[in-house]
């Protein structure tokens, strides 16, 4: 059979075929074989307890149903709600009832695997094989449940149906199917935690149908078994007491149980910890695990169907791990995570986890490996370890196939400082003909903020009026859908656009939807990137205002009376068209926002009385600075806007307007906004006083390192040098790509080129090795190193000169020139080369980073600088996080106007074995974008001539 196999794929195919055939054969063999075994079974099985209980219920022996004193080790552990599942067995003699129960269990598994197959079929990846494999994986556990007569089959079927309902988003079936295993074992109820991350409508229907199921089962018991309601309630108390007593009575350290508690108790048996501590630890760890899982479900959202299944499987793990005892029959539920791990792409870790589980749980049965190996494996909790490994694998995959939920983005937004998006400077549209006006309309389409067709159509109608009145030669209408339901094809957007005249429709551009872009400020930034005009009109679709405001505002901006004009909702001449039932709510919010505005004006130099109107007309010049420096993507974006206008001397005007309010904000959103305000205002306040909003006062003096490392590095440096941000370029002389774009670089006037002295790139070696050898090696070795340093310096200098480069300064790749002995070795050569300036990379910021060694080396190297009389300037080394925050960078440039600042830009990431593989791979591109944004500010000649002022203007028609 194996003949002719040439590659792995050829080998995998027969294995899959064998697995499928094996599963079918096993299924067919099991039915008669185990049916016979169960029928002839004489010893105790769990089913005997159900049979006995059904007798007691049918004979109304209520006090015996839950009686721990009589039943001792084998009490009935399921709540009175579960009676309808067992009570009919009393009609049959025990062997017959057992066999019926076996057949039922067999069918339960069959139905369960059918639903698993159905669920997997939606993923469209090897459905049959994956189902067969997961079946083979848990086959031994299924057989175990047949012999014990446990309810695992019923559990399995219900969980499979629940999974299917979860994947198909059917809350009714989800609610009913999950309630049954929860009634039986309580633990599976943890899966209901999935509702935390679901839509509220899904959760509501699920809870309603779960309640119906419980009510239905209770009604069945009350009417069919003729028990009084009071007695029925009493039996719930008895059931609870029995379960507690049983948990205390039963030794969970039994070798067969593979739960967390059992593992800890087995450890306690070895006297590594006390039993009390083991129980305490189990409770703490279990509670923590469930809480963490709930948090995970809340803060992540699956982005694939497989991930949705994996989310579900995490709940199964919580049940299996945190239960007091987890015997083999319970492990049948592992079929679900196994199936989802196997369907689709997986890494080596996932394969190892599945293989380890298969070997230690599925194969390693008593009859296969014998008692000598079986008991030690069980007692060492190796199957438990396998479950943990499978959990880790599932979690890994889940993380990979999920994204942050909108809930998490909301929370994260409270404290994070949003950065200017990468590529901001690059992405701005410049190729088309410049327009007269850009109308930017952010369209909220999220679960908390949903626009209405009326509001969008109203805004577009105002745009039309403006166009008709001003008759611009060219204009553009940018619609920016944002929020978790955002899509350019959203019916609200499509229907509104269709209603526009054809020639206007042609001017509409809908921006693509970004996953992370959830907020109005971010949406506006994205909209701005698509504009290409000198004047930008922004519409707040939630409270749009009439065209009269925009006409007034445009006139103010065009006549250079203002750079930014805001519609003032609190202006005495402003008017509201409002849905009457909202008046009271609007008044309350008005009062709240007046207090907010007063507080903001007290704390910050903001003159406007209405920060959040968001109906704005602004110049492109202001917008380009605003969006480069934007720190907030959400509510307080308007504070950013006003502060930037003030600090940069732009003139703001507030005008009255006619506003439309169709619906009021939801309470949840209002609360979140208040919370955001409380958290963020102190941050903004601190940043304002730390100079983060200050304009760029000095031309930045950046030195770009690593020219020659790769084509992308060279091109990145070149673009920044051409933009005037990079003033010096350090060249790796022996680099492979030295000549790429070199001639272009040399053409840039006033560019200073230096030698990036290198001992670690060519030949590649660790800088730490060189430091170690320089400090700790013997005299001979040190002499050899000295010779090497001198030789390398001369060689590299020679190469640069061959390229007609006369370096006027020197620094070191990985700051290797600071290594003890280096400068001493090559100092005279540097002087001979007429290089007078050498970098001393001492920066205060480095002391609190992992690069603190550079400061120490700088201190030690200082004496050589003095000895050779090298010049050096103050130095600032921006850390990774600092480089991403342009406002911080500006504050540092302003604080250290004459400092040399280093950067390592690249136009794109072309790292690899052919170029470079250092730790800077991902940072180079982000550095480039930050510096490109800085270049935009540099281009703006920063301080405008208009004096700082703010005024309320009276309306007048154009």
């Amino acid at each position: 059979m194996l003949a002719g196999i040439t590659n792995t794929r050829d080998l995998v195919r027969p294995i899959k075929k064998i697995t499928c055939i094996l599963s079918i054969v096993a299924t067919l063999v099991v039915l008669p074989l185990y049916g016979y075994k169960v029928f002839t079974k004489k010893t105790y099985s769990d089913f005997d307890v159900y049979h006995r209980t059904s007798y007691r219920i049918n004979h109304q022996q209520w006090d015996l149903v839950y009686n721990f004193k009589i039943d001792k080790a084998s009490p009935f552990r399921y709540s009175p709600l579960s009676w309808p599942f067992f009570v009919e067995f009393d009609d049959y003699p025990l062997p017959v009832a057992r066999t019926i129960w076996f057949v039922m269990n067999y069918l339960f598994y069959a139905i369960g695997f059918f639903f698993l197959f159905r669920s997997l079929a939606r993923l469209k990846i090897d459905t049959f094989f994956v189902t067969a494999f997961s079946f083979i994986f848990v086959l031994r556990f299924c057989l175990d449940s047949f012999m014990i007569g446990q309810i695992s089959g019923l559990m399995f079927m219900c969980i499979a149906i629940t999974l299917d309902a979860w994947l198909t988003k059917n809350p009714k079936i989800f609610g009913i199917a999950l309630t049954i295993p929860t009634i039986l074992k309580v633990g599976p109820g943890v899966i209901a935690g999935l509702l935390l991350g679901s839509r509220s409508s899904f959760a509501k229907v699920t809870i309603r149908y779960a309640a119906y199921t419980i009510a239905g089962l209770a009604t069945l018991s009350l009417f069919f078994y003729e028990i009084s309601f009071l007695k029925y309630c009493e039996l719930f108390v008895s059931w609870f007491q029995t379960v507690v007593a049983d948990a205390n009575y039963f030794d969970a350290s039994h070798y067969g149980s593979q739960s967390l508690k059992s593992t800890l108790l087995r450890i306690a048996k070895q006297q590594w910890i006390t039993f009390d501590f083991a129980v305490l630890l189990w409770k703490t760890l279990s509670a923590s695990f469930v809480c963490i899982l709930a948090a995970f479900w809340l803060i992540r959202r699956p982005i694939t169907l497989r991930a949705r299944g994996l989310f579900f499987c995490l709940g199964i793990f919580a049940y299996l791990i945190c239960m007091p005892e987890t015997f083999k029959y319970a492990l049948t539920l592992l079929a679900f995570p196994i199936a989802f791990l196997m369907s689709g792409q997986r890494a080596r870790f996932e394969n190892i986890a599945v293989a380890f589980g298969f070997l230690t749980m599925s194969i390693a049965g008593y009859d296969v490996i014998g008692p000598a190996l079986f008991f030690p494996l069980q007692k060492a909790s190796i199957p438990f370890l396998a479950i943990i490994l499978l959990l880790a694998a599932t979690l890994r995959l889940t993380l990979r196939e999920s994204a942050p939920s909108s809930f998490w983005l909301n929370i994260r937004d409270l404290w994070s400082i949003p950065r200017t998006p990468y590529g901001f400077g690059l992405n701005r549209k410049k190729s088309e003909t410049k327009k007269d006006f850009s109308f930017v309309i952010p369209v909220p389409l999220s679960s908390t903020t949903q626009t209405t067709p009326y509001l969008l159509q109203y805004s577009l109608k105002q745009v039309l009026t403006i166009i008709q009145r001003l008759t611009p030669q060219s204009y553009e209408i940018i619609l920016v859908p944002y929020g978790n339901h955002a899509s350019g094809k959203h019916p609200i957007i499509q229907k509104s656009i269709v209603k526009l005249p054809l020639e206007v429709q042609e001017q509409v551009y809908i921006t693509p939807t970004l996953i992370t872009q959830l907020r109005r400020g971010a949406a506006l930034q994205q909209g701005y990137q698509q504009t290409y005009s000198n004047l930008i009109c922004v519409f707040n679709i939630e409270q749009p205002c009439s065209s009269a405001f925009y006409l007034n505002a445009i006139e103010k901006v065009l006549s250079r009376q203002a750079d930014i004009v805001r519609a003032d909702r609190r202006h005495p001449e402003s008017e509201w068209v409002i849905s009457i039932p909202l008046i009271h709510k609007l008044n309350r919010r008005f009062n709240l926002s007046i207090q907010f505005n007063r507080l903001v004006r007290l704390l910050l130099p903001i003159p406007t009385h209405d920060l959040h109107s968001f109906n704005i007309v602004m110049t492109c010049r202001f917008a380009s600075i605003l969006f480069v420096r934007q720190m907030t993507t959400a509510l307080l974006f308007d504070v950013d806007m006003s502060l930037i206008a003030q600090t940069h001397g732009f003139k703001e005007i507030d005008l009255p307007a006619l506003f439309v309010l169709e619906k009021e904000k939801r309470l949840a959103r209002l609360n979140l906004e208040i919370l955001r305000f409380v958290v963020r205002i102190p941050v903004i306040l601190w940043r304002y006083h730390a100079g983060y909003f200050a304009p760029l006062k000095h031309k930045p003096q950046f030195t770009a390192d690593d020219w020659g490392l790769s084509p992308a590095v060279n091109r990145g440096i070149l673009s920044l040098a051409q933009a005037g941000v990079v003033k010096r370029v350090s060249i790796l002389a022996k680099s492979k790509f030295l000549s790429v774009e070199l001639e272009e670089l040399k053409k840039i006037p006033n560019i200073k080129l230096g030698l990036h002295f290198d001992l670690t790139y060519s030949p590649s070696q660790s800088p730490f090795k060189i430091i170690f050898e320089s400090v700790f090696s013997g005299k001979t070795k040190k002499e050899a190193l000295r010779t090497l340093f001198r030789h390398e310096f001369l060689t590299q200098l020679q190469i640069l000169r061959q390229h007609h480069i006369n370096p006027i300064y020197m620094d070191g790749h990985h700051h290797i020139h600071l290594v003890p002995g280096t400068l001493n070795s090559i100092g005279d050569l540097i002087q001979d080369a007429q290089i007078t300036r050498v970098r001393l990379p001492y920066s205060h910021s480095l002391w609190f980073s992992k690069k603190f060694l550079i400061n120490i080396l700088s201190i030690f190297a200082l004496k050589h600088f003095k000895k050779f009389n090298f010049q050096y300037s103050a130095f600032y080394y921006p850390l990774k996080r600092e480089m991403k925050d342009i406002n911080f960078l500006i504050s540092q440039i302003n604080a250290n106007p004459k400092s040399e600042i280093i950067c390592h830009p690249a136009l794109y990431d072309d790292s690899g074995p052919e170029t470079y593989t250092d730790s800077y791979t991902d940072q180079r591109v982000s550095e480039l974008h930050t510096l490109q944004n800085l270049a935009i500010l540099n281009e703006q000649k920063i301080l405008p001539t208009i004096s700082k002022n703010h005024e309320h203007a009276s309306p007048h028609s154009i």
Binding site: P572, E573, S579, P581, I583, L586, N587, R588
Partner: protein
Amino acid sequence: MNEPLISFLIPAKDAENIIHHSATQVLQFFRKNFPEQFEIIIIPNSASDPRQKNTLEVSQQLALQYPEIRVCPHHFPLGKGAALKTGFLNSRGRWIFFTDADLPFDLSYFKDAAALLSNNTDLIIGNRRLDQSWAKVSANIIPFASKRHIAGISFNYFTRLLFGISTKDTQAGIKAMSRRLAQKAFEKQKCPGFFFDLELILTARGHQYDIKELPVTFNLKNSITTVKLFRDTLLAFFWLTKILYFHASGNYQHQRSRTPN
């Protein structure tokens, strides 16, 4: 002029500054939407009061200027309800419309009301508390509008509790009705003031006439109000008690004619 379809009643008190503008607005609206099918009746209230002389004069000038406008001065008793009754008694239209002299509501309401009246609805109430109702409010009077809204809701709640009616806005000064309802309502009218609206609704309900509600667009221009809190609360209490008494005694119910033994 033939018998018009619509009689539009405008009770006018202290309205010398606004009546000209309002009447011409109404005229334009009806000429456009109901050409040659309407009459406008201005009812200068308290016409014998010298302070209302100007209102009367401006109204009369309008009547001279426009053939569709007529003036029916009302003298006694004082009150909007009584003035409307005077207007109604002088009207000829099959449908009776009325609104306040300062036109606080958008007139487009009457287009929808006419459509409903032609479908045999007898009373169309303008309801400010429907979700589709809009208000145009100055930013500086939003607190006043809010208080007024709450007061209105409270009063309406109380009224609904007392009379078991379902409408959430009895007092909006914009209504349209059939002539047969107006006939009954003014016959049974007890209150000459602004509780006439309530009587109108009670009469329509008592006679099992078809009642519908329409959203309105409400224009709140300023926070000036004619309501005097103490006096009007007492008056409201007096009239509500009186109307409740008449309501309980079946005044607003349909009176079946007695058959002889």
